[in-house]
Symmetry: C5
Subunit: 297 residues, 5 copies
């Protein structure tokens, strides 16, 4: 997540440097052609490029809106994970009688592990690396049989709930209620995976990208009578604006891609760890996940 401060210009520039080079080249070519072979290029009324530009801004706005919805849904999913992680521990404490503190702690730590593991898995990182301290050796070994590691962790907590019920520590109604929370975890996980694995309609983006170039070419032909030292920066600024917005949309579309614009999953998982450990009355809680220069992961 980008923080509420101006990101470094180099960061922004890097996002669209390729496009800007193209735009500068196009403008220079058109400028050269119009200077040397003035009769070669026909008259292009300015209404044509501005109409195309208006069409682009409308379609781009809708695309931004759909990308924003994806980004916000991703954030809601992780908000739901925060809530249900808290609910899970509170429910265990509410439904299990005295003497189960150790089991509660074990299941709560497994829930912390699940959060970190899901975050890393969505980012395409090795998911089991950093969760060794929350899981037992048996748990870690049994995860090996799973392609989907977070699903494996959920199965372990599901099995523990069943055992608690068989041992008579958990009545059937509380079991069903806790199962509702487990169902939520499966759902949040699947929702995040859906966003991760569903490519935003490719052709939509492709056409938009292409038409921005058409717009730039048409505009540079229209503006050939304007002095060159003025035309080129103007075109670069308008082009940057469209390309940067389009890039912003693309980043919002993919909120789990290990980039500064990601959902801040590590920070959220750390918050969950702090909350859960304080609910367990532990005092050895980690510090909040630190922010980078201009973003939080």
């Amino acid at each position: 997540m980008l923080l509420n401060k101006r990101p470094p210009l180099s960061y922004l520039f890097n996002k669209i440097k390729l496009e800007l080079i193209y735009v500068a080249t196009i403008t220079l070519i058109v400028y050269f052609l119009t200077t040397r072979f003035e009769h070669l290029l026909p008259e292009m009324p300015l209404t044509i490029p501005t109409f195309i530009g208006t069409a682009i801004s409308v379609i781009l706005s809708f695309k931004l809106s759909q990308s924003y919805d994806r980004w916000w849904e991703a954030r809601k999913i992780w908000g739901g994970i925060v809530n249900d992680s808290r609910n899970f521990v509170l429910q265990l404490q509410s439904f299990l009688g005295a003497g189960n503190e150790q089991t509660i702690k074990q299941m709560a730590l497994r829930q912390i592990a699940w959060c970190y593991c899901l975050g890393r898995s969505l980012r395409g990182l090795e998911p089991v690396d950093s969760i060794g301290k929350y899981l037992s050796h048996a748990d870690l070994r049994s995860l090996e049989g799973h392609t989907n590691k977070p699903l494996g962790i959920l199965q372990q907590n599901t099995a523990d709930l069943r055992q608690l019920r068989e041992e008579g520590q958990l009545d059937v109604f509380s079991h069903v209620q806790l199962n509702n929370t487990m169902v939520n975890f499966t759902n949040w996980m699947g929702m995040a995976e859906r966003i991760k694995s569903t490519v935003f309609p490719v052709t939509y983006r492709l056409f938009l990208h292409t038409i921005i170039y058409v717009f730039i070419i048409a505009l540079s032909i229209s503006l050939r009578n304007v002095a060159g030292y003025f035309e080129i920066p103007l075109l670069l600024i308008i082009a940057s604006f469209f390309f940067l917005l389009e890039r912003t949309a693309t980043h919002l579309q993919d909120p789990f891609s290990n980039k500064p614009t990601d959902t801040a999953m590590t920070a959220i998982a750390t918050t969950i760890e702090i909350n859960i450990k304080q609910l367990l009355k532990e005092t050895d809680v980690p510090n909040p996940h630190p922010a980078n220069e201009f973003y939080l992961m």
Copy 2:
């Protein structure tokens, strides 16, 4: 689902070749008329076609937005199917005591069959073809009495749950909780069928298609003073842009039509099969469904 790579130009061209031929013909006719009978065609101020073009881009954006919502809803439905298939197996393992492993496996395989069967049925393919290996002979025979095959499979799992309860393996609360998951399956199935069977308002699309031609005709009359070698490609590019966006909208509207732009139902069902089999601690799991050249089915 189109993958995150540039689809081949031939694929895109095929989508709108008919429209492009019409546009080229229109432009040539107008060019011919203006060259031969210059007095025949009246003056058309450029403001008229650009105003029409702006109106088209606004209405097209809304249509894209509605089509996108349908497409995303289809993807959410299959995401829900992934989640509830996992939930179903985890719940069976949590609510049924030891000794029911064989019944759990049979019901889980039936759930896998349901996923494949629903996918094929939505695509208009023979739904029972590929699911023989997950179902018993009795199951397959009893499906014959159903027009809606996936509904028939759900009835079989419903009947098994009832029998488990009558045999005392399942208490009434767990039965109700499992029934909630079964209700979800019926709902997901019905939601997908709704999208499949509801035609997007026809007149909406018809008027939009017609007005794009009106726009092209008006624009080609307006631009008759522009040199022909420049006018024709410009018109073709703008027309392609509108027609391709309109075609993108149409593809998003119908996400279950056995085309490259479909929801990747076979790939999702294969993921479900892998997840379920690993939850059952089986080792003989299939590979993920392979992608085609530029899309995943």
Copy 3:
């Protein structure tokens, strides 16, 4: 529901013939005035009507979007009715023990009757006409005391559930779970009635309709220098476009009005009858409801 084929031109023309006659009259009057009393009409810059036209297309798009949402909500409601009708029968079969087949059949037939009755009631047709074969005489008689016939049918199934519980055929938890499905039926019915009985904001539509005429008048004054044989068809085409889109919006707003653009309630209710009868293992199922020339009711 209009089918995915070109509706006959006469159908489309009938929707807006009044408006087109008005537009033609306006254009002719302006043409006559400008020819005879050229000094009478002031200069109208073309920017004025095109600005109004752009404003109309923006506001019309939003109206189309809101109307589409109403139409899609109506379709979702009937999709929910399909799902819960299937759920209801599956739940009865799951929760009631052997020996209750006859009661299940009676309640399932009542559910079919409810679907047909609700559809006819929403369309403003006599609701009890076609459901005699699904209900007993006592049921039909008791409906007479109800203004809202579908609500009366729901009360009958509610009473049967209570009796099953009093007879010990149904335990209390299954009763509550079945009650959830009954609650859904009341909700779907009320949601459809809400759409039926809520008039889309009248002033919104009125202003939009009026401003389209203002636009036509302004445009016809602006275009008076364009040759008449060209101006009149151009105005008629642009006006048709706006009026047809506006009419499409109006049809989408009222999806239960016994018109070809209706939600296909009879077809859906027939699908429900087929599904339910096959779940009851009956072989005498009706055929799917046939489509009319270009629509399905």
Copy 4:
């Protein structure tokens, strides 16, 4: 709720008469200035006001859309109240054994009272006035301690449910299920209060209102060359259009303000009374609430 008929012109005119007087004054002043002191007012290109007008139409459309959502949410809330009132009576009849008819009737009448009371309370009318015939004296007296009268009525039904359970007339599961319906009533009430008490962002509306005047001034300066007898009606029509749409938005924003554009709460509450009384097999049901000239309250 405005009915589906043309509201009287006087009604519409009254909504914006102040604004129209302002607009006429502005136009006359500009007309006077341009006639007398032609050199005083600079040239204003027509592109400036039409650009402002386009911006207004875009922002106004979004505002209309947000206001529409508020209005539709208000209608959904009252639709939900209809549904849950029916559900409540059906559930009482389903979960309470024979001999409780009197208690059911008393609670059902209290529910009717709650609907009328909530409607009047949202409209800022004395809430207890018209509900004396549905409540006992004890009930009415106990309402005196409540600022929020509808909440007080809900507490009475909640207390009755508890007593039924303590008397053994209601088992614990049915109590919980009925409590879900009671929770819905609290939620619907709170949702309506939220819409009532939340002011639509004031600055948003203020800026939009101001910019319409800027647009009118700029447009009247631009059009000074157009003959006055033509300019003034044109400005008045365009201004009316914007102001009426803005007023429509404002009315949709506040659907509980005792105006003709209100949600038809009295009519809905009367429908609930009819439905509930017929479910109780009563024959003395009121007539549907009559419509006024062009609206229904």
Copy 5:
């Protein structure tokens, strides 16, 4: 929350004074350049800035729409807190037998404390300051171990529910139903924290802000032929409009920032206190939270 009255002009002016100074400076510089070095600045067709302005108004509208959704979601969350606080007390009264009045009161007061504490915590104020009178000393001490104070309060009520069940005052089904309400509290809290902690996409806002300046520069160059005493106010008005709308969007985005545009959390919490105390039949209720000059906190 801003009240439904005109906020003081000084308040509005303060929001954008920096931007207006920049705009005035830009205009003066351009005016100076064009007067002195007329040949230095090239011709800038007015179509360019109006096209940019249209693009800004489209993108700004979408941003306003997304900000509005955040603001409305924040208000819905606090509406949900009102509803569930009422539900919580009604449920305690419905599910706990006679003799538990003291426990009910203690838990209800804790719920009031939770509302105030959450509101202050979201606003970045010391959260425990004002809630001493609702909590016991033991409660306050146990809060010290929690970074997240509201979560700590929820844990206390969760623990009390468990104790009631262990003492046999609460049956297991009612416990589960009350737990659903407790789960809602955790969810509402987490949803508010999500809005508080998620920065609206920074680059989106940054580009929009920058392009407004580009628009102003381009427009001031285009308008150089217009008399200066007219051009500068026109530019300032149009710039104010865009900057004020952009500022409105920014305020709506952050509804928990201790500003006049905040969600009125203190007022809502006071309403909850009044409602809960009247449900407890207490007579010593506070007055509604008073409004400030033009806003309510």
